[in-house]
Symmetry: C2
Subunit: 266 residues, 2 copies
DNA sequence: TGTCGTCATTCCGCCTGACGGAACGACGAC
DNA sequence: GTCGTCGTTCCGTCAGGCGGAATGACGACA
């Protein structure tokens, strides 16, 4: 890394980020994920625990972060309003249905996950994917964006993707086929993940959060393909996702107006 | 600190927490706040910057955290639903009126700040107070809680406070005087900070977020006493705080119902 | 333009703090 | 009771982190 930085601190922050990627982390998992020797990991974890950021509970299966970690990010509030508005709805969805929800916004030629309820989900072994950029043509959250955004924006995005050499953008090079695929997504009313990308053990269904003709964000639910057949997942969760997206849209409108729900002026 | 922890990591996390307490931090400020020598601070900051957590911009006046810090806390989602529901409303309030807003919930015999828009406020030199416990009889957010909660709960809290030897709990020892003070707060419809506690350069006005007869949370706005006279602050912001509290309450109801605003079933 | 004060940054000799392989303890499966 | 695996502890080693002093940058002021 760059000259004159503190290697112990780099290691500690890598470890802390990994701790935040699932609800509970074992020493074995952290060893695999970071490559650090276990004595080093335990020493770092003891340091986090002494400061209150982490607790260790063998009954829970390992180490987990505490509410104090919020003080390490409290100074950053740069998410769009739609992400803030989406948070409570996503949390409520996961509480009710157990599967984790992600909220993503456009980030250049992909969508970036800005909120995830993976840590809230009791059935999810998935990793928190905050800041992960998801491709527009292969990932559900991305496809939901590019399918439902205005045609001018879609054309621009397809031109950007056509110039990419990323294999996951390859679908954008055959423009007619891409437009046909996206038309199918619009007709279906939701997007799912391409069958050609990993992981195969799970799948994601996503819908857009619209404001007028604009896509503000996309929201998706991820589930194990072995736990529920795809057709059943679609039948059950697409209506619920659409309802949640509608609620998020309404929250955004109310927040921007500063008005009250059930306002007589409507 | 405890045996076998990593001192460099403890220092780094102290520094990172301080960086999160205001929008921009100078090396001088960080030196005063943490006691670390400046070369140590610069080396740590270079480490954070190399990893992407911090940027340095002399034009901005120093160092500030980036969106990546969210990955250091993304695994913790333990806030009550009312705090999640309150977040976007608090952010919208600060964008509109500039003064920072805090959201607090009961935490044993005090209220704890669970969300603050201090980093979003352009006029605020206040420090983010996430996790700070604020006393029930002397702080606005605390007083708003104990004044408006159900009588049984208030009696229990007053008994707990009467046994405390904290000077800020002293007002609870004269039960009749305490009840009189709290009755005045209820009549006024809002709480402010006791004139006997620091800092004197600022003040806070707070109101409860009610659900039925329960107080879910309290929300308050903090302002410079030199920038706006108290009477004017009250006249201007109390109605706005009440409106925001009402919106938060409605959001909580909708989230718990999973229903849509303007639902025809009403 | 030159000087001054203050802040940020760099240098580098020092030494102790962090390291990690080996060993040990705990625990569940068989 | 034995075994495998995971978590934890030990401790000799050495290089990583330290911080006072020096230097650079910059704005205020005459």
């Amino acid at each position: 890394m760059t000259e004159n930085t503190v290697e112990s601190v780099r290691r500690a922050l890598d470890l802390l980020r990994e701790l935040n990627r699932q609800r509970v982390s074992s020493v074995r998992h952290l060893h695999h994920a970071t490559g650090l020797p276990k004595p080093t990991i335990v020493r770092m974890l003891d340091t986090f625990a002494a400061l209150g950021y982490v607790v260790n509970d063998r009954r829970q299966g390992g180490y987990q972060v505490t509410s104090l970690v919020r003080s390490l990010s409290a100074g950053f509030h740069g998410d769009p309003l739609v992400v803030e508005a989406a948070r409570p709805w996503a949390i409520a969805f996961t509480r009710k249905f157990q599967w984790p929800v992600a909220v993503a916004v456009l980030d250049r030629d992909a969508v970036a996950v800005r909120f995830s309820t993976i840590p809230d989900s009791p059935v999810s072994p998935f990793h928190v994917t905050i800041n992960n950029r998801l491709k527009l043509m292969s990932r559900a959250l991305g496809r939901a964006y590019i399918a439902f955004c205005p045609p001018n924006e879609r054309n621009l995005l397809l031109r950007m993707l056509a110039m990419s050499d990323d294999p996951e953008d390859e679908a954008a090079r055959d423009r007619d086929a891409a437009l046909t695929l996206l038309a199918m997504v619009r007709r279906a009313g939701f997007a799912d993940r391409s069958a050609t990308v990993e992981p195969k053990s799970s799948s994601t269904i996503a819908v857009p959060v619209m404001l007028g003709r604009k896509v503000l964000a996309t929201v998706g639910v991820t589930y194990f393909t072995s736990a529920i057949p795809k057709a059943e997942a679609i039948a059950r969760y697409v209506p619920l996702l659409k309802e949640m997206a509608k609620n998020i849209q309404t929250s955004v409108v109310l927040l921007e107006q500063g008005g009250a729900p059930n306002d007589g002026a409507h």
